[in-house]
């Protein structure tokens, strides 16, 4: 059974069957990663271009590794030092890369909707590796994979996403995916970081983390953009840490076992304290490993669509 779309632009509108298919396919690729020879042939002869118009280390490396593990030929592209800095449009850049006979494009871009636009102007399969404040579908898929791996299910779990929901593509993709998979989602953060009408997406809104923790199974802690937001969206780092920072003390007070995720990179002792990030609640490094498997699954499933 193939996916319904030949692109992965976001989890908004994706069916439960498709999400399930990606998560299940990732299980077998996850197994590949434990083998002594971690390479399989499905994308042999295919070329994948990684177009990163925004800085990224782990997502870019994770995609690149997934592509190589599937035996694809890989083209790397970073906005700095490219023709983009000379004023070339996204369309021209993408079409030029496509002219070199590229089969799939993985794109990270600062503008929401950029991959949707790209999918209309090029022939290759487009995979969204994060667009503006919109979606980061492979991150949410690897988050869901990790939750399922740890807790055995998604249906009926209570997941709380903490942080700057308004500007987070990780939050949006998680909301769309988790709700489709039957989880209950609460978003938590200062009112300045909760976008208008978010509850219409089917989530609960909470401004006091300690009120929600006693009913939470999973916490997904978002990175705070220190440089950008301090002073505008919240008064200070100290205040944010005191009111929303996830500390061991806070988790223990909740009186239940809570699994903690973070998409990285973490600001230690800002949104998450070191003893949580490195402790038994955390599945942060499993997320990173599972990310490779999820991306292998997505690349593989889309490559069979043409």
């Amino acid at each position: 059974m193939p996916l319904q779309s030949r692109h992965l632009l976001g989890l908004d509108g994706m069916t439960r069957d498709d999400l399930q298919l990606i998560l299940d396919t990732a299980v077998s690729f996850r197994e590949v990663l434990d083998r002594p020879i971690k390479k399989v042939p499905p994308l042999q002869g295919k070329t994948v271009a990684n177009m990163f118009f925004e800085n990224s280390t782990r997502t870019r490396l994770s995609f690149e590794l997934a592509e190589r593990r599937l035996s694809a030929d890989v083209l790397g592209f970073a906005a700095t030092g490219s023709s983009v800095s000379k004023g070339e449009t996204l369309k021209d850049t993408a079409r030029n890369i496509e002219a070199m006979k590229v089969d799939m494009v993985v794109m990270r871009h600062s503008a929401s909707g950029a991959p949707h636009y790209l999918s209309r102007v090029i022939e290759a399969n487009v995979i969204n590796a994060g667009d503006g404040s919109h979606e980061h579908p492979t991150q949410a898929l690897l988050d869901m994979y990790t939750i399922r791996e740890k807790l055995g299910r998604l249906q009926g779990l209570h997941v709380c996403i903490v942080g700057d929901i308004a500007h987070s593509r990780v939050a949006r993709s998680n909301i769309f995916g988790l709700i489709t998979m039957g989880a209950r989602v609460t978003v938590c953060g200062p009112a300045t970081m909760i976008p208008r009408d978010i509850e219409k997406l089917g989530v609960s809104v909470c401004h006091h983390i300690d009120e929600v923790l006693p009913s939470v199974d999973v916490l997904n802690v978002l990175r705070i953009q220190l440089e950008r937001d301090a002073g505008r969206l919240f008064p200070s780092i100290r205040e944010y840490h005191n009111y929303y920072g996830i500390t061991r003390k806070r988790l223990e007070k909740a009186g239940r076992t809570i699994t903690v995720l973070h998409p990285g990179p973490i600001n230690r002792d800002v949104e998450i304290s070191a003893d949580v990030a490195d402790g038994e609640h955390s599945v942060i490094l499993q997320q990173v490993l599972n990310g490779v498997a999820i991306r292998m699954a997505v690349l593989y499933l889309l490559s069979t669509q043409n």
């Binding site: 503008a111 929401s112 503006g132 208008r196 219409k200």
Partner: protein, 428 residues
Amino acid sequence: MSLLLKHGRLLDPATGRDESLDLVITDGRIDRIGRALPAANMQVVDLTGKVIAPGFLDMHVHLREPGYEHKETIATGCAAAAAGGFTGVCCMPNTNPPLDDESVIRFIQARARVAMDGLVDVFPVGAVTMGRKGEHLAPLAELATAGAVGFSDDGDPVFDAEIMRRALEYSKMFKKPIIQHAQDPSLSKGGVANEGIVATSLGLPVIPRLAEEIMVARDIQLTEYTGGFYHVAHISTAETLETVRRAKAKGLGITCEVTPHHFVLTDEAIKGYDTNFKMNPPLRTRDDVEAMKSGLRDGTIDVIATDHAPHSFDEKEVEFQAAPFGIIGLETAVGLAFSELLGKNVLSLYQIVEKLSTNPRRVLHLPEIKIQEGETANLTIFDPVAEWVVDPATFRSQSRNTPFGGYRLKGKPVGVLNNGQAYWISPS
């Protein structure tokens, strides 16, 4: 040779006339009005089933010249106006150089005289402030003397309350309105979409409705204080409308306009990130669209204007956030107005003619057009029930950035007459 318009329904708010009559036009003047006039030695046009109205005026148009001739020129913009059923347009001052000097006004007038052989009246709107920067008043008296019919920093608001106050006081002396693109930039900065569920799920930066509402509320107080003339450009929210409604009830010199896209489309349309749905103010919600219609019906909204904003194909062929704001409107406005307003019983034919012709002239204190013997023939002829499909490839505008391609509309301009020239849109 004289022109005989036969069997048209003559609809003239100025004289209150609404009946089927023949019209003879000689040398651009209305020679005779009557029944069954003889056709000897005349060019005859049969207008059975068509309506003859005073010429339509679109008081919010970006002609782009000087400075942005790759988007539109005065010639192509005037052609688009005629093709859309307008005998007059007001051109906005965000050109390069901007309309903050009388020499630019004179340049536009000179170009307009030769465009379509002068068929379309081009009424320049001068800048409120130098360079549209919101800091120093432009030479409003000189601009008015040269022919500016109003003042605006359109594209940007006049943000500084003191400057707005002075502009209202100063322009009041020669009865010209300040046309405000009402939007508090500290609230709208960087935004591209209406704040609400659609922008939230698309992850787009927002232009909250509040940005418009706060600015209009402030400006209305300034208008009350100064006794000036204030016109809200492209009103877009239900609350702004309510604020204007209350101000009008007080008898203040406040007027406003709405664009067809703000009474037809909602922000749901941006879900595919199509840049032809990106405009400023952004598309709002269904409630706002309904409010616009009720505002048109009860007269709170005086004018239908297009905010015709041409952009080249490549400028719009980018990511949503990177695209410029605006869509073209001259060649779809009449069809949309009749389809959405007459067709859905929001306005009568008579009221639509008022919003497209009588009221914009009243807002700008321009002389009224009268359809009577001895008057200049400034006429728009339309078929209120003709059905057609919008095909941007046939547009006279230089640009094609419309979201209405493929729309099936009911109501269509047929021809325009003005300044001794005639332009027939569909052969008859």
